[in-house]
């Protein structure tokens, strides 16, 4: 592995490649990064394992920092967050954490039980609402999710709430009719309040592999995603798909989930994510 004039420790390069693939960055992204690294190391100096890693960290760090943009919820009232994503990624739990987080900042939060489909989805959010000490707007199971969101927004405005966080049912991005339902949910909110939902938050599961890219692309194309939340980073999965997603779709990662409790939510910090990636 000799670059024009420079010398790269081939074994270290392969090791680096495997580390990044193991972290779910994806073979194509890793190939691009490795090629970029090779270009950076042309110039006659010797690049050993330490220097290669440092250079790679710098390249990835640059991409991650572009994805660092905290959510600003003070510009609208009520600020409406619509939480979406495929099945089981942690939407409902993330909403509970967000509710506790903003309530802790002294904000008045209202939740909308927009998952009217899955067994005990409403009950699940109700328990969380009680624990986070925030109110919830719900209808009966099987109700029209758009009707729930509509009522919730109306209640949020009437009660002078600071934040409305809407839960939606998990759905695969490949289900056209379910994506249509989500679009209708969004339209119904927009019809009632000019710029609502102000944040369309896509929740991604760090244990997912390359399919997370398809999820981000499809939900973005169909709904217009404005922010990401990456959950289950307390496991051993690194969530490396986010590097490609940030770079390609220019989406900010607002929060990361690091556990199943109410306080297990952190703002996305590029340096911390980067450090964990290279552990």
């Amino acid at each position: 592995v000799l670059s024009r004039g420079g010398v790269i420790d081939a074994a270290s390069l392969e090791e680096l490649e495997e580390l990044l693939i193991a972290a779910d960055l994806g073979v194509h992204t890793v190939t691009r990064l490795i090629d970029g690294l090779r270009r950076r190391t042309e110039g006659g100096e010797r690049f050993d394992a330490a220097r290669l890693t440092a250079a790679m960290r710098e390249m990835i760090g640059e991409i991650l920092r572009a994805g660092e943009a905290p959510l600003e919820v003070d510009r609208e009232r009520p600020f409406v967050i619509m939480v979406i994503g495929v099945n089981g990624v942690g939407k409902t739990t993330t909403i509970a954490k967000l509710a506790a987080h903003y309530r802790g900042e002294g904000k008045k939060v209202l939740l909308a039980a927009g998952d009217t489909f899955r067994a005990a989805a409403i009950e699940q959010l109700e328990v969380w609402g009680t624990r986070a000490q925030v109110d919830l707007v719900k209808h009966q199971a099987g109700a029209d999710s758009s009707a729930v969101l509509f009522d919730a927004l109306q209640a949020a405005r009437a009660r002078g709430v600071d934040l409305l966080i809407a839960d939606t049912a998990g759905r695969l991005h490949t289900r056209v009719n379910l994506m249509e339902e989500l679009k209708k949910n969004k339209r119904v909110l927009r019809k009632q309040m000019e710029r609502a939902p102000h944040e369309v938050l896509l929740v991604l599961d760090a244990t997912n592999g390359q399919n997370a890219v398809q999820q981000a692309e499809q939900f973005s194309r169909e709904l217009g995603v404005t922010g990401l939340a990456l959950t289950k980073l307390d496991g051993t999965a690194k969530g490396g798909v986010i590097v490609n997603i940030i770079e390609r779709l220019r989406l900010p990662v607002r929060f990361v989930g690091v556990g199943e409790g109410l306080r297990d939510l952190q703002p996305f910090v590029a340096e911390e994510f980067l450090a964990a990636l290279f552990e």
């Binding site: 495997e18 693939i21 193991a22 972290a23 779910d24 994806g26 073979v27 194509h28 495929v86 099945n87 089981g88 990624v89 942690g90 489909f117 899955r118 067994a119 005990a120 009950e123 699940q124 109700e126 328990v127 969380w128 624990r131 998990g170 695969l172 991005h173 490949t174 599961d205 244990t207 997912n208 592999g209 390359q210 399919n211 997370a212 398809q214 289950k232 307390d234 496991g235 051993t236 999965a237 690194k238 798909v241 199943e260």
Partner: protein
């Protein structure tokens, strides 16, 4: 598609009788990329590609095939062989009840799959009993109860403060008393690195001796599948895998990784949110899905 990419590589080599080292080398690079794109773990990819290399170099190209098709044929055969026998079924215990323990990471589809299996067994004329052994997730018990009502299968619920182990032990007594054929234990999602929760699972396995321990895995799982599968296998010795959410467009390479590191066969696949969406596993279909 992979076939097209390999056709491109071999286009210049029409008419050769056997596959030589260099042609195969280039083809193997494409195959490696395809498998990594499909989320097959990179260590599994390494050993798999090596197996294919050994079979492919010097191999005769059948008269009816192009060199690319010959390589694809070898890859498909190796993959299908690795994925295991078709129709690995649930093993029924010699005397009732057969105890099935569902385990896996958070959100993988355990509760839904428990209900799917229960519904299937009921249709087959068996008497299932589901056990709500997840006492930590909000409304987990209600979730299983709601599903139980939908499918007409009873759910055993523990008393206040009862541990998951106690709930399961009590359920075995209830199952025996009610002449149930199969007991399905729905456990809480847990991280394989949570020592305490893995110990809890180990204890349930040790004390209840389930006849089938099924790891429920999300088909979208990435490289981490190997770590998860190894840890669960070491803790509770898996008898099989339920691969869920295959109705999406994930390639499902985790299936290969799990099979490779644990030897556990995929016994069922989840193909939707409804309780009827459970199907038998077809290794050949999975192989072509992974290859893309």
């Amino acid at each position: 598609s992979l076939t097209q990419r390999l056709e491109g590589i071999f286009k210049k080599l029409r008419g050769r009788g056997t596959l030589n080292e260099r042609d195969v080398g280039e083809a193997l690079r494409e195959i490696r990329v395809a498998l990594l794109e499909a989320d097959v773990n990179y260590t599994v990819v390494k050993s798999f590609v090596e197996k294919v290399r050994q079979r492919a170099v010097g191999a005769e190209v059948l008269a009816s095939l192009t060199p690319a098709q010959q390589v694809i044929k070898i890859v498909n055969e190796e993959l299908t062989r690795l994925m295991g026998a078709q129709g690995a079924e649930l093993q029924w215990a010699p005397s009732a009840p057969t105890i099935v323990m569902m385990c896996g990471l958070q959100g993988s589809g355990k509760t839904t799959s428990t209900a799917k299996l229960a519904a299937k067994f009921r249709q087959e004329g068996k008497r299932p009993l589901m056990v709500a052994a997840d006492i930590q997730r909000p409304a987990a018990i209600q979730q299983l109860q709601t599903l139980g009502k939908q499918i007409g299968v009873p759910v055993h619920v523990g008393g206040p403060g009862e541990s998951p182990l106690r709930i399961c032990q009590e359920a075995v007594r209830v199952a025996a008393a009610q002449h149930c054929d199969v007991l399905l234990l729905d456990t809480a999602g847990r991280l394989h690195v949570n020592t305490e929760l893995m110990e809890e699972l180990r204890e349930i396995k040790a004390r209840l001796q389930p006849h089938e321990v099924l790891l429920v895995v999300d088909a979208m799982t990435g490289q981490d599948a190997v770590n998860v599968a190894k840890a669960f296998h070491e803790a509770v010795q898996l008898d099989g895998v339920v691969l869920t959410k295959l109705d999406g467009d994930a390639r499902g390479g985790a299936a290969l990784s799990i099979r490779e590191v644990t030897g556990a066969p995929i016994k069922f696949i989840g193909t939707g949110e409804k309780v009827e969406a459970l199907e038998a596993f077809h290794p050949d279909r999975m192989a072509s899905r992974i290859l893309g």
